[in-house]
């Protein structure tokens, strides 16, 4: 059989399998197998996976078949053992034949890999930054970005002995507050980096998995064919909450995406205005905003109820902590802005949050969980603290 007919045969085998799978499989992932995915590349990857799987199955069937046949028929008592223990021709044959099979696998694999590495000519560029333990997506061309956290209901349900019925939680552990939104039919380039430790951004349906590494910018691309919601997770161990930083990508038709972008731009404009204004913010406004910031940035360690996990080195924000002590406001602002000098788990949020958000979250922490300092922190206080 020539290589050509072999190729045709394997193609038709795929065709058969693909038709079994149907298009529904593209959206509802199998529990047993790799998803075919929703990009041309992911289909190729799936094809390579099935090709090598079947090659292994066939070789396995032959080798194990011979072994089992031998185990049944070449037992003691049935016959005397033979005396042969060497055969150069056989040895050469079972060196060469596997080599040829390997070359047959290496060629299509290399072709796909070359395509995967061609990140040029992107139409949309998105920077993905890994944080402990959330993602940040920056729309480089649009000049805005946001954090994407494990959704609140999953976060509550995943606490030790939460007692919450996980089946009632929407996409338990695979749902976020702010998903990544992208258009279909466009070549999207992802620039991958990290703020702290190494993470890995994985969406099986896109056949994309790339490490985000501090000090590196990795590139990877995807061109999604089918609108839908595609879920994945962080794949590289990144500390305590590695399991709790899912990836959710929503792929939209271009028109929907444009509308979403317009909405976001408007929001950004409002945000910029709020930041620029030097007005005094009310306690209520800051508390409402601060709660949102707290839940997305702080609750993973300090817990939604502010009690922390002292055994893990995540202190409570109540009792005799600085957030409950009216005389220690400056210290509180300092630790949120610059991180802890003694506990590396407390990050420096001055790098990632704006003055308004920091003012809001500090106000929230000082007046929630039973704390009653009555402090109202204004953005300009944070600006002043940054200057120091």
């Amino acid at each position: 059989m020539s290589y050509r007919t072999l190729k045709q045969a394997s193609c038709s085998l795929f065709g058969l399998l693909a038709s079994f799978a149907g298009t529904a499989w593209a959206v509802t992932p199998s529990k047993l197998n790799m998803p075919r995915g929703v990009t041309e590349i992911s289909h190729e990857v799936y094809g390579l996976h099935m090709l090598i799987l079947w090659i292994c199955v066939v070789i396995g069937a032959i080798v194990f078949g011979v072994m089992i046949w031998s185990m049944i028929h070449h037992r003691k008592g049935k016959r005397e053992s033979a005396n042969f223990h060497d055969n150069l021709r056989v040895e050469i044959a079972w060196t060469i034949i596997p080599f040829v099979i390997l070359v047959g696998m290496a060629v299509p694999a290399a072709k796909t890999l070359i395509k995967m590495e061609a990140t040029g000519d992107a139409e949309v560029t998105i920077q993905v930054t890994g944080f402990q333990w959330r993602w940040r997506y920056d729309y480089v061309d649009e000049g805005f970005g946001y954090f994407s956290n494990l959704s609140q209901d999953s976060n509550e349900a995943r606490q030790m002995d939460s007692g919450i019925d996980l089946a009632q939680v929407d996409n338990y552990l695979l749902n976020v507050d702010n998903p990544l939104v992208v258009p279909i039919g466009k070549k999207i380039r992802f620039l991958m980096t990290s703020n702290d430790v190494i993470h890995s951004w994985w969406v099986p349906q896109l056949a994309v998995k790339k490490d985000t590494i501090p000090g590196y910018i990795n590139e990877v691309w995807a061109k999604i064919d089918v609108p839908g919601t595609y879920r994945g997770q962080c794949a590289e161990l990144c500390g305590r909450d590695h399991a709790f930083m899912p990836v959710v990508v929503i792929a939209m038709e271009q028109a929907d995406y444009d509308a979403w972008l317009a909405e976001r731009r408007e929001e950004q404009a409002g945000e910029a205005e709020a930041l620029a204004s030097d007005r005094d913010w009310e306690m209520g406004e800051l508390m409402a905003r601060g709660e949102g910031v707290y839940m997305s940035q702080c609750a993973a360690c300090h817990q939604p109820n502010g009690q922390g996990l002292p055994a893990m080195g995540f202190p409570a924000l109540t009792g005799d902590s600085m957030s409950a002590d009216a005389t220690r406001l400056a210290e509180h602002i300092d630790i949120v802005l610059h991180g802890s000098r003694v506990n590396p788990a407390m990050a420096a949020f001055g790098r990632t949050l704006n003055d308004l958000d920091i003012a809001a979250v500090i106000t929230y922490e000082r007046n929630a969980f039973g704390n009653e300092t009555g402090d109202v922190v204004q953005p300009r206080d944070i600006g002043a603290a940054r200057e120091q």
Binding site: M67, L173, W202, Y216, A243
Partner: protein, 528 residues
């Protein structure tokens, strides 16, 4: 070694074994006693590492967090790996080598007996130090056994203890390796040319060279971690001009030869057992030696296949993909030769043979998934998923550990002078084989369906297979208590073993009485 100070000379012991715990075990230089110490230590660590795995599987039994905090979970996965690799599998192989290599090549003892003592006695201290980290501020290391920076810098007080215990393990391994090379190169009996050596001695010789080549690399890598953390260097810190990926390259330059260190002696054990029970010489002896050497060589140039997702240049990815696929050729040769050895033999299926045959099948399954992992575009999907967990457990657990168990059953009568209980041995085999496959086969599906590794909690679509896997793991763990019972019973007594023990056994070690006398081949045997 003589026991000049002992007044009592018990002739029933056959030999002049030193009396008293201190003299017999602590300051011993006898290769058989040190081999026994290594094997006992490995068995203890096998249960310690196994207990950690039981905690991991208990937490993963169902979704949601039930037993351990995520940080502690990470400590358990990290320590499970370190204990199993450096505490169970490697010392078990060194123990088997200590016992068998001198007898196989006709040597009176290991070439460097005092160093042999030292290389063992480092280990209990290294592991006491490592295990004590569970009680330290910040807990045991939780950054994975691969110790990737920057995450590993978040380790608490355990950090320097982790580094120094790795140094000690490396020291122990290097000394063990030097000893095996020195023994094989210098103490072979007259006429025992290299190409007449049993395959177990051959695979260990090649393994020893791998150890000497790569353990210093690991020591260097972890020392760089130490100086980065405490002395202001920035080898792996991008902010200081360093490179976190550099660590991964160095680590896996150690790590890939390391995985062959964990499997080549297993190849050797199986290559002893299959010919014995097939009553037929090993097929393609020389091809087996050359295949082992090729695998050893290739292991040095494939390291980056552990890190395809870090973003290497295309040329690098292609190189590492092609070379990795190439490993399938010599590995295939070995499997084909084992099958050809069985072919038209006169087989019986005692416990060692059962474990050896299960090794061949299950290791090959792990080899197939390894071949799949070499295909870079597909690896982007498999990498760091449960597919990888299934792959390396297939080659290590029903692979390397099955081979070690096979070796123990095979040589136990030679060590103790008694036959083990065949019924319980076979029971141990069948339960182990059933449970180990229930544990690890479903993990292939979990990984393909998108479950990442090293997570304490998971989405609901992964629940069924995780529960199955946990049940298998509990069953496997409990089954190993049978093994413990069989070994203890065999040490205490049983049917007397003959010198040859097995009808088809060939080689110098089977010319000695069972149990093997305390001192053997004081006068070198002649090998023709």
């Amino acid at each position: 070694m003589s026991s000049t100070a002992t007044a009592i000379h018990d002739h029933d012991l056959h030999d002049d074994k030193p009396v008293g715990f201190w003299r017999r075990w602590v300051i011993t230089t006898n290769h058989k006693d040190i081999g026994t110490l290594y094997l006992i230590f490995a068995l203890v660590m096998f249960f310690v590492g196994g207990a950690f795995a039981m905690v991991v599987r208990a937490e993963l039994f169902q979704p949601g967090l039930q037993f351990v905090d995520p940080q502690l979970f990470n400590s358990f996965t990290t320590m499970h790996a370190l204990v199993m690799i450096f505490g169970a599998v490697m010392p078990a192989f060194v123990g088997l080598a200590n016992w068998m290599v001198p007898m196989m090549v006709g040597a009176p003892d290991m070439a460097l007996p005092r160093m042999n003592n030292w290389s063992f006695w480092i280990l209990p201290f290294a592991f006491m130090m490592l295990l004590s980290t569970f009680f330290m501020d910040g807990g045991a290391p939780a950054g994975g056994w691969t110790m990737y920076p920057p995450l590993i810098f978040q380790t608490g007080d355990a950090f320097p203890f982790l580094i120094f215990s790795v140094h000690l393990m490396g020291l122990s391994s290097i000394m063990g390796a030097i000893n095996i090379i020195a023994t094989i190169m210098n103490l072979r009996a007259p006429g025992m040319t290299l190409l007449k050596m049993p395959l177990f001695a051959w695979t260990w010789l090649i393994t020893a060279y791998l150890l000497i080549a790569v353990m210093p690399v690991l020591a260097g890598a972890v020392t760089m971690l130490l100086t980065d953390n405490y002395f202001g260097t920035t080898f792996f810190d991008a902010a200081g001009g360093g490179d976190p990926v550099l660590f991964q390259h160095i680590f896996w330059f150690f790590g890939h030869p390391e995985v062959y260190i964990l499997i080549l002696p297993a190849f050797g054990i199986v290559s002893q057992i299959i010919p014995t029970f097939a009553r037929k010489r090993l097929f393609g002896y020389e091809a087996m030696v050359y295949a082992t050497a090729s695998i050893g060589f290739l292991s040095f140039i494939v390291w980056a296949h552990h890190m395809f997702t870090v973003g290497m240049p295309l040329a690098g990815q292609l190189f590492f993909m092609f070379v990795t696929m190439l490993i399938a050729v010599p590995t295939g040769v070995k499997v084909f030769n084992w099958v050809a050895t069985m072919w038209r033999g006169a087989m019986t299926f005692e416990t060692p043979m059962l474990f050896a045959l299960a090794f061949v099948i299950q290791f090959t399954i792990g080899g197939f998934s390894g071949l799949m992992l070499a295909i870079v575009p597909a690896d982007f999907q498999y990498h760091d998923s449960y597919f990888v967990v299934a792959h390396f457990h297939y080659v290590l657990m029903p692979g390397a550990i099955f081979a070690i168990i096979a070796g123990v059953y095979y040589w136990l009568p030679k060590w103790t002078g008694y036959m083990y209980n065949e019924f319980w041995g076979k029971t141990h085999f069948w339960l182990s084989t059933i449970f180990v496959n229930i544990t690890f086969f479903p993990q292939h599906f979990l990984g393909l369906a998108g479950m990442p590794r090293r997570i304490p909690d998971y989405a609901l679509q992964f629940a069924d297979f995780n529960m199955m896997s946990s049940i298998g793991a509990f069953g496997f763990g409990a089954t190993q208590l049978i093994f413990l019972g069989v070994v203890i019973a065999c040490v205490r007594g049983g049917e007397r073993a003959t010198a040859r023990v097995w009808e088809g056994a060939e080689g110098l070690e089977w010319t000695l009485p069972s149990p093997a006398p305390y001192h053997t081949f004081s006068t070198p045997p002649e090998v023709r």
